[in-house]
Symmetry: C3
Subunit: 260 residues, 3 copies
Amino acid sequence: MTTTERTWPDPAIAADLAALRARGPLVHCLTNLVVTNFTANVLLAAGASPAMVVAVEEVGEFVPVADALLINVGTVTAADAEAQRAAATAAAAAGTPWVLDPVAVGGLSFRTRLALDLLDSAPAVIRGNGSEILGLGGAAGGGRGVDSTSGSDEALPVAQDLAKRTGAVVAVSGATDYVTDGEEVVAVPGGHVWLTKVTGAGCALGALMAAFLPFAASPLQAAVDASAVFAVAAERAAAETRGPGTFATALLDHLSLLDT
Amino acid sequence: MTTTERTWPDPAIAADLAALRARGPLVHCLTNLVVTNFTANVLLAAGASPAMVVAVEEVGEFVPVADALLINVGTVTAADAEAQRAAATAAAAAGTPWVLDPVAVGGLSFRTRLALDLLDSAPAVIRGNGSEILGLGGAAGGGRGVDSTSGSDEALPVAQDLAKRTGAVVAVSGATDYVTDGEEVVAVPGGHVWLTKVTGAGCALGALMAAFLPFAASPLQAAVDASAVFAVAAERAAAETRGPGTFATALLDHLSLLDT
Amino acid sequence: MTTTERTWPDPAIAADLAALRARGPLVHCLTNLVVTNFTANVLLAAGASPAMVVAVEEVGEFVPVADALLINVGTVTAADAEAQRAAATAAAAAGTPWVLDPVAVGGLSFRTRLALDLLDSAPAVIRGNGSEILGLGGAAGGGRGVDSTSGSDEALPVAQDLAKRTGAVVAVSGATDYVTDGEEVVAVPGGHVWLTKVTGAGCALGALMAAFLPFAASPLQAAVDASAVFAVAAERAAAETRGPGTFATALLDHLSLLDT
């Protein structure tokens, strides 16, 4: 196992962001109803083109057109779950790379079963906080609700094991973000604690990983790209604001202002 | 009947806010799809931990874990109503204290019937605008849509009666907020008219009442705490902004900046 | 065919905005889950009263009470579609004027069929980007996702034809907005490219058209009113901000600050 650290500025990350902005990837999001708006705005600010197409009648037609897919189980209902299964299946069939965000998995059996099923459709990346990765990995996560009670470092061994078993890159968000393909571990420090005071910051980060997937050198690199870009935008936003309201607004600005 | 007035700064309210921040209560929200994001951000800014778990398959498992519950019928569908009934029942069984927000009740028969059913599960607090409290109380509320056409003072007698009949504390939002347990009436003046120009301000206030419930001295005190905290944050936000966009953003900042 | 250009300031537009603010029209919105919050805040900032009542059990009761209706198919599910059909039917029966926003129609068969059915209920205005109008008009729109790949000028001939066939005013959003009743064409230039970087800007514009419908001289005038008001608020917001986050916030402020 090698561990490296990556932060902005970094030529490879900047090149991927420049490519994202030039290409404007169509990112199909099946995400939770709390964060749809912020997720779409994060994707737009970064240069991607979000599309929330959620009906089971439509996902099979849309997934093959999209450049990447995000599935987030945060507020999943039975109808949503059906659409998410259909979307994951369509993604596997069409080769659309996709990200799984297992919000609060481990603590709730309905969504935990769903998330385990979705793993069969081979997500390129799994992104969660420490508790969620522990939950999905089968370990005893101390999670309550959707906020993490386990640090990202505690979850790292489980993340590596999960990556090896599923073939997905696993990203664990926390004070330091870790991204691993089971062998290599990349640490992305930085960001800001106010990211935990803005709902959907982690969810939007998962969507941003999807946006980088179509053209980064690897899913590992895509997850690192998104983490580093999000972290530096958060740092710049925090440096000039005083609380979570103005911080979230400034974060969108800085995502769009990053000079590649 | 005694009527008192409470505003920030107030030692008891500050102590409750300090406790809320220290404890970070997990507030389970079944709320309407217009305000999920803002509600979550208000709770986070104040120091609580929001969780929107909405599927009927999940609410029974989650309600007992949560520290408090909010049920808001603003955009309720038949599927949502089923989950809300299950959540309220689970809350009554588990002893999870909860807040009912009867958005537009009185004007629409489907949700009015639902709200009346939910009363059987003994909410700790009912929060609405004047028209909604009149509607729920069975009086002829002049409500059209979700904005109030009846002042909070007009609804006060109905609020007191509703409190006595249900055992819930009833909070009536308006230019002055009134909170009553049927006997005592507490007036919380302040706030700002721009709160009526930001969608979901009242809904978020209901969620904030839920956040205070687990450890305030009483449901009456929890409703007063939330009203006073929200009012002063709104005043400070309005004092430095010029319109509803920057106001809503600054409101989140000031909720997090309040010095206890 | 006559083509004229309209921009703010304009006495007729200002008079309609003053009337909107004085009357506070109740705008019933069945819109997509990405943009509910922003749409409601745009309506509130402009002076209207938004109400998102979405259940099939409730729309028939609410549509006749509302002053105008918006139907946006952006994230439509089968359940939503049923409610939208019921709402459109109720609007036609009650004479409630309404706006159809055919998000991503043309590219997805489920919603395309829905949108075509909804046309039977005689919307007063159809608002979309170039691709969507081309899609709805039956022409080969180059649309992918929800962002337009066809300019508003390219779609103008199809818009005029669609207006003639349906009797609706058709508004095509783009760098210049075009509004036509099939004969007259009004161009509304202005706005700002950042409107394409804020999710739901176009959707909110459709809602604003609905808000003007009840008392503008004609549906054409209502669509022009909303386009011109939105454009000037966007210009003023862009002039003082640096990115899409602060821009969206300032846009709400300027909608409320416009001096009639």
